[in-house]
Symmetry: C2
Subunit: 369 residues, 2 copies
């Protein structure tokens, strides 16, 4: 193993973490191939430092499989199909499974026609939106991915929990080192950041959340009690959240807004969320057009990286670059998971009788960062 | 004429303003049909209260036609074509002309295949992005529209003018009164707001712009001198701006980032911007699917309108609702254009020898609001 980056402790090798996640998901009833699809998406998030969408989710996934909100096995069905558009039913499986199917179908249709969209109803949490958009870009196509989520945000001008933190992701294939990946949730901050501030007894900025009285709060514990995050960019983040709600939930014939069940609070209830994927293949116009697009993306990456940075900033980065560079380091050095996540994954594994009590952390890498 | 809304002075009837804009554009050399397309987009913006994208643009359009940065006549050509994807060359015409062609082509292809995208290179200013997305939604399809613009914004982590305020728009057909229209520019505020603050000698918030030294400024005059707006939502608005740059400029084979010419500062230079349009037709799956989508959009509109509003807020609104309601009032009562815009349009008309010296304001409506 090569030396770790100065800023990170050594960690667990990605392939061992993935195998452990597969074992947990198989023990929870998933077919081996499906377990691999789900584990890939989670470990990819941990590689990129997005631990909120990594193996930390195994606990709630297993809990929901036990409680009945998600199913371990079953078909993904085609509800409706056209040359460049389709709707799938995700059958309340862990939603990485229908997402992988939808991405493959969108890419196939886009290669045939130029551009195609696939929606999924009967969905739950599908991991990080940017992961699915990037899977499309890694095949040379422009990708989009999006989902509606359980309500956790107040609408602009409102006071109650009304809409999800609905992420929108786009990814662009590049002749350079890695695709550009734009992935923005529509809340000003993450739920995890509010929970962490509450645990630390810290105050929060006045742009993050409303309290139970519907007024802006700087109390993290009040924000946790109220569950009313604020949209990023005020009315603009709200507008994007509503757009994503309709692009995902309404288009798929899935649930929208208050009808989407709470992933954590209602583990026995199918979420009923909607997913949206789009693939666009410039190479369908001509091989030269596909190449010109990837070259133009690379040129934009170079131009942005070459801009003068602000004081204290090393480089101007393109979207997805910090995560791509972190993933490259962690592929070499392992993934330094936060200790509470390691403990939680061990707990989940132990509950299913998987791999003794230390899992992939049994070896010389030792513990978490 | 019915009584005006309490909050607005009476104004000029939309059809008279449109005819006057057509006369100006015809005098500047546009074919009659093209003049109508451009005038429709401008007057629609004024109806909705988006005066920055309304007839106030006639001055710069005519100036650019005179200087050679835009052409009054010429073909829109098909560069490449596939069943659900095409690229057009806008030939440096006023870009409403290729935009109308691209929207029609995207809708035609989406009705045939389910989903289709059309890009345009050789483009300039196309008006409000939401206008084009809404034209698609008004035909029963989900619409997207976007463009890159002349650089006017600093990148997140940078200090120089590097990227446009690249708007992203989506529109959703509804069984209710009007489509949902999400239309967000990626800067925290508009250039017009900074210019107005500078003219008024007012300070600006510390989230709006950088000064010439690359540091955040609260001096509006410094912000005007530097031309470095900040993205909305910090890194998130920057990520969306880069995504739109690649979705529009790179995909169309148009210019990107620093290569896009300045519409105002270089009236003799073709801008070379890129446009992106997408149409998605759920009705291609089945008539029932199209109806279910429009019903789901209407249901979401009702749910959002029914949410409890914050103190001092009349109603929680869906994106595009204020503009749709304003347009309905102004169709009945006329458009109360700000006086400086009226004066400027008169000046442009007089320079072209159009319609005497008062234009559509010659009648009883009198002047501007």
């Amino acid at each position: 193993m090569s030396a770790p980056a100065a800023s990170e402790a050594p960690g667990v090798p990605a392939d061992r973490l993935r195998d452990f996640a597969v074992a947990i998901l198989e023990a929870a009833g998933l077919p081996a191939a499906d377990a691999r699809v789900v584990a890939d998406s989670l470990v990819d998030a941990d590689l990129r430092g997005i631990h909120s969408h990594g193996v930390s989710r195994l606990g709630i996934y297993v809990q929901r499989l036990d409680a009945g909100g998600n199913r371990a096995q079953g078909p993904v069905t085609v509800v409706a199909d056209a040359p460049s558009l389709a709707v799938l039913d995700g059958g309340d499986l862990l939603s990485q499974v229908p997402s992988a199917r939808a991405v493959a179908l969108a890419v196939e249709k886009a290669r045939a026609t130029g551009c195609a969209a696939v929606s999924v109803r009967g969905a739950a949490h599908f991991g990080a939106a940017g992961y699915w958009a990037r899977l499309i870009a890694e095949q040379g196509l422009l990708g989009m991915a999006s989902t509606n989520t359980s309500p956790l945000m107040a609408p602009w001008g409102g006071v109650t929990t009304a809409i999800g933190t609905n992420p929108l992701a786009m990814a662009f294939p590049s002749s350079g080192e890695a695709p550009v990946v734009m992935d923005v949730a529509t809340s000003e901050t993450t739920w995890g950041a509010v929970v962490n501030a509450s645990a630390a007894g810290a105050a929060i900025p006045d742009t993050w959340a409303l309290g139970r009285d519907g007024a802006v709060t700087t109390s993290a514990s009040e924000a946790v009690a109220a569950r009313r995050l604020l949209p990023f960019g005020r009315h603009k983040g709200y507008a994007i959240a509503v757009g994503v709600e309709l692009l995902t939930g309404a288009l798929a014939g899935a649930r929208c807004l208050s009808q989407v069940a709470d992933m954590y609070g209602e583990p026995e209830a199918p979420m009923g969320a909607g997913l949206f994927f789009l693939a666009l293949d410039p190479g369908r116009l001509s091989p030269a057009a596909g190449q010109a697009f990837a070259d133009a993306v690379r040129d934009a990456q170079r131009e942005l990286n070459g801009l003068p940075p602000a004081a204290g900033v090393e480089r101007v980065l393109w979207p997805g670059q910090p995560e791509a560079e972190r993933a490259a380091r962690r592929r070499a050095n392992g993934i330094p998971l936060p200790a509470p996540i390691v403990e939680d994954v061990r707990r989940v594994a132990a509950g299913l009788g998987v791999a003794g009590d230390r899992g992939p952390w049994a070896g010389a890498e030792g513990g978490a960062a």
